[in-house]
Subunit: 318 residues, 2 copies
Amino acid sequence: MAKAGVGEFDLIARIRKRVGPDDSVLLGIGDDAAVLAPTPGLALVATTDSLVVDRHFTTDWDCADIGHLALAVNLSDLAAMGARPRWVLLSLTLPDADQQWLDGFLDGFLALAASHETVLVGGNISSGPLNIGVQLLGEVAPKKFARRRGAQVGDVVAVTGTLGDAAAALSLGSNASPELRQRLYRPLARVEAGRVLAKRVSAMIDISDGLVADLTHLLSTDLGARVELEHLPASNALEAAVPEPHQRWQLQLTGGNDYELLVTLDEQHLEAARASVRPLGLDLARIGRIDATGSLNCRLPDGTQLEMDNGGWDHFKD
Amino acid sequence: MAKAGVGEFDLIARIRKRVGPDDSVLLGIGDDAAVLAPTPGLALVATTDSLVVDRHFTTDWDCADIGHLALAVNLSDLAAMGARPRWVLLSLTLPDADQQWLDGFLDGFLALAASHETVLVGGNISSGPLNIGVQLLGEVAPKKFARRRGAQVGDVVAVTGTLGDAAAALSLGSNASPELRQRLYRPLARVEAGRVLAKRVSAMIDISDGLVADLTHLLSTDLGARVELEHLPASNALEAAVPEPHQRWQLQLTGGNDYELLVTLDEQHLEAARASVRPLGLDLARIGRIDATGSLNCRLPDGTQLEMDNGGWDHFKD
C-alpha cells in the first residue's frame, strides 16, 4: 500500500519539521496527545469538520487549495461563535504515503493557520480512502460567544461580504473568472468579523450550506424570516458572470461554500455593527427581517414571493 | 445516496437526543462549535484518532463494538498522558444515512463515554467512504503529565495488565476464546492507571501498535532497552490458546491493540507504582530495563537474543 520506505512516521516527521514552537503549546506534535495552556478565564471552543473527496472537493483540485479549504471550513465555524482560533489537529486518511501531495496540502493548510495565529499541535495519519479531518480549538470570553438560537421577532437579518461567488464558480467551471474561482478554492473565514460582531448580534451562523439552509437553522416553529432578494449582496464578479437576477438569486440562496457570516440583530445595533466590520474591508448588508411566521419567505422586488423547493445542502440528500 | 427522508440533520438530532446536559458544557451539540468551561489551573489535553474500515475493523464487526473502539483508542492516548478525559467530538463519514447502524454505534460509544464521565459535545456527519474520527479533550495539571521522552539509562521498563490477547484474537479468528475476543473488540483504556502512574514514571505511552513499535518511541539514538521475553505478562486465556512461548512472544511483541500502558521509571519507584494500580485490579509487570545501547534488544530465557525483522505496525507498511 505504501511507496517504498515512506511510512506514517516519515509523514509525521515531515509535518513536525514545518511547525515551530509556541508558548501556548506545552507538548506538541509527536506524543500521544497535545498539552495546551488555555488562557485563564476564557471558555474553550471546539469544532471539527471533515472534507470528503467528490463531496467537498475533487481529485483535480490543487492540493494546497485542499489544505486551505480543510482549515477554512473549521475557522468559519469558530468565526460564527465569535471565538479566536488557537490550536488545530489534523486527521489524515490517505490512500498512499504521497509526500508531494502532503507537502502541497501543508502549504495551503499551514499558510492559512499562520495567518490566523493558529498552531498545528497534533493529529493522526491512517491509510484508506482519502478523508481529511480537522479539529479546531479556540477561545472566547464565557459570556461573549454567539450562537444559532437567539434571534427575536423584529430583528434585522444581515450578512457579511457577498454571496453566490463560490456557487457560480462551481456552476461555471473553467468558464468562471479568477475572482469567482478564488472564492471557491480559497475561501476566507470571517474570523475577525465574527469576533467583533459577536457582542452585537442576537444570533450568528456561517453560511456553508447556502443562505436558505443556514438561515433556517436560526429559525424555529415560531420564528420565521423574510428575505428581500434585491438586497442580497453580490460581487461585481458575480453580477458580470450571472447578469440575470433570478439565476443569480438562485445561486445566492442555495449555493454553499460562501463562508460569510449570517447574523440577526436588533435594528438599533445595525449601524454600529456595520461600522465594526468596515475596518476589515467588509460590509454588513441588511437582507431581511425576522418575523413570527415560522417559515422563511423570499420576496422578489415586485413584492411576490419566490417559490422554493430546495432547503439547501444536506450531506445525505443530493 | 440517502434512504428516503433521512438526512444529516435527522442523524444529528438522533445523536443529540441521547446526550444529556453537563455543567462543563456551555453550548453542546447543534451549533457551529461547542463551548466548554475548562477547569481553572489545568492544562488542556487534545488528541484525535480515526478508524478506517479494513484497517482498524471490518464490516462484519458489531456496530456497538466499532463505537466502543473508536472512543477507546482515543481514551488510551489520554491515559498515556495521565490526563482526565472530559469532552469528545465525533466526525462520521458514512456511506449512507443508516439510522440502525448509527444507533448501534452510539450504544457502544456513549456507554464507554459515560463510564469515563466524558460528554459528547459536537462533531459532524458527511457522506462518503466509512471513516470514524474521534477528537478527545481532557485535562491534566500542567506539570503532572507524562510524555514519551524522559526515560533514563537504568530505568525499569514496565507494562500494565497483559499483552498479546488482542493479537491472538485477531490471529485465531472465530477460534479465539471469549476472553481473547473481548480484548480485541472491547479494549479497555487504562485511564485511571495512567492518572496514578503519571506522577511516578519518567516516560509513558499506550501500546496501540505493538510493544516493539511503541517501546521504540520511548528510545533515541543514545537510549536503548532490553526486554526479557519470559517476563512479558500473559493472560491465562493467552497461555491456554498459544502455549508455545515463541509464538506467544511474537504476538506480544508485535501485535497491536493491547491498549496497555508502557512506562519507564526509576527502579525505586516501581513498588509504589505497582501498589498504586493494584486497587484498579491491575498489575504493573517489570519487563526490562533502559540502557545506553541505542537499540531495542529482546532476550530469550536462555540469554540469547531474539532476531527481529518487524518494528511493529505502521499504517502505510503492511
